[in-house]
């Protein structure tokens, strides 16, 4: 057991348990917060795997932006969770067992996928030891991003611009004059003005 392996196991358990609670918890807000926790766990695993830049980016984008956006959305619009019957996910599973859409089929699909992948991973031959990485992760990623992957990088910026425009256009209220007074990019911030 090395420190790497122990950290990986702990972080993996955190990620999986909070991932489970995202699907299972009865409260929508709690689910969103657990989603954030599971992102943090994934960021920790990136660190264990030596992807420092990606770990920082994961925290910055997933926790700082996406989770905040979802939580903010839930809070602003007062989205209630649908009353799906039983408290926990298992009560729901048992109750809906007969139903085609929400009963056995998704359960079998998800569990079957996991079991299939685990069996494949067990039987394949993998490199036992990772070759040591040379140089700093940050410099490598930066150089690759602006040489080999520069076209996807530019396309990503166009996608982001389109998303900003789309979010602003969608969340603008029709019954108001065009909200040109504040050019906020985040739909969350835009909603705040609208209310």
């Amino acid at each position: 057991m090395s420190l790497d392996l122990i950290s990986f196991i702990v972080l993996g358990i955190i990620t999986l348990v909070s991932g489970y609670l995202v699907v299972a918890s009865a409260n929508l807000m709690h689910a969103a917060l657990f989603l954030g926790l599971s992102f943090v766990g994934v960021a920790g695993i990136y660190l264990v795997l030596g992807a420092e830049f990606l770990a920082a980016a994961q925290i910055l984008i997933y926790v700082g932006a996406i989770t905040t956006l979802i939580v903010f959305g839930i809070m602003v619009s007062n989205l209630q969770d649908l009353k799906a019957g039983g408290r926990g996910v298992w009560a729901r599973v048992v109750r809906n067992l007969a139903s085609f859409r929400r009963g056995l089929v998704p359960l079998v699909a998800a569990a079957g996928f996991a079991i299939l992948m685990l069996v494949i991973y067990r039987q394949s031959l993998w490199p036992a030891e990772a070759p040591p990485a040379s140089g700093s992760n940050l410099a490598t990623v930066g150089r690759l991003l602006f040489t080999e992957y520069v076209v996807p990088f530019e396309i990503a910026s166009v996608i982001l611009l389109a998303a900003v425009l789309g979010a602003v256009a969608l969340s603008r209220r029709d019954d108001q004059p065009p909200a040109g007074s504040t050019g906020q990019a985040a739909p969350a911030a835009e909603r705040k003005e609208g209310r």
């Binding site: 392996l5 990986f8 993996g12 999986l16 991932g19 995202v22 699907v23 929508l28 994934v42 695993i45 264990v48 795997l49 992807a51 990606l54 980016a57 994961q58 984008i61 997933y62 996406i66 956006l69 979802i70 959305g73 619009s77 989205l79 649908l82 799906a84 809906n96 859409r101 929400r102 089929v105 998704p106 359960l107 998800a110 996928f113 996991a114 992948m117 991973y121 993998w126 490199p127 036992a128 990772a130 040591p132 990485a133 040379s134 990623v141 690759l144 991003l145 080999e148 992957y149 990088f153 996608i159 982001l160 998303a163 789309g166 979010a167 969608l170 969340s171 985040a186 739909p187 909603r191």
Partner: protein
């Protein structure tokens, strides 16, 4: 060092959690969260392979960065759509949002 199958196994479990969520949930926001879980597990896979197969040219990490970018864009637009629907219909049950189906 963490063996590669462990990373892949974790990613598979996380993916199937997300898959189950997407298939069973009726709340649009909850489905969005489950999709994020699946995207994260894909990223884990990519980073794990990048670490083991090409540590000097981590193309997998680059792909993960692009996945994150697209995920951020996706959440922004999807959440805006959900908020508009919630505002108009007071409901985010995707089973009832079926206007385009008929």
């Amino acid at each position: 060092m963490v063996p590669l199958p462990y990373v892949l196994g974790l990613a598979a479990l996380l993916f199937s959690l997300g898959l189950y969520g997407v298939l069973t949930q009726r709340n649009a926001v909850r489905i969005l969260m489950a999709i994020e879980l699946m995207l994260n597990s894909v990223n884990l896979n990519l980073v794990g392979f990048a670490r083991y197969l090409e540590p000097d040219r981590p193309g997998g990490q680059l792909f993960a960065i692009f996945v994150m970018t697209v995920a951020a864009a996706e959440v922004a637009v999807a959440l805006a759509i959900i908020l508009v629907i919630a505002h108009r219909r007071d409901d985010v049950d995707i089973d009832k949002i079926n206007l385009l189906k008929w």
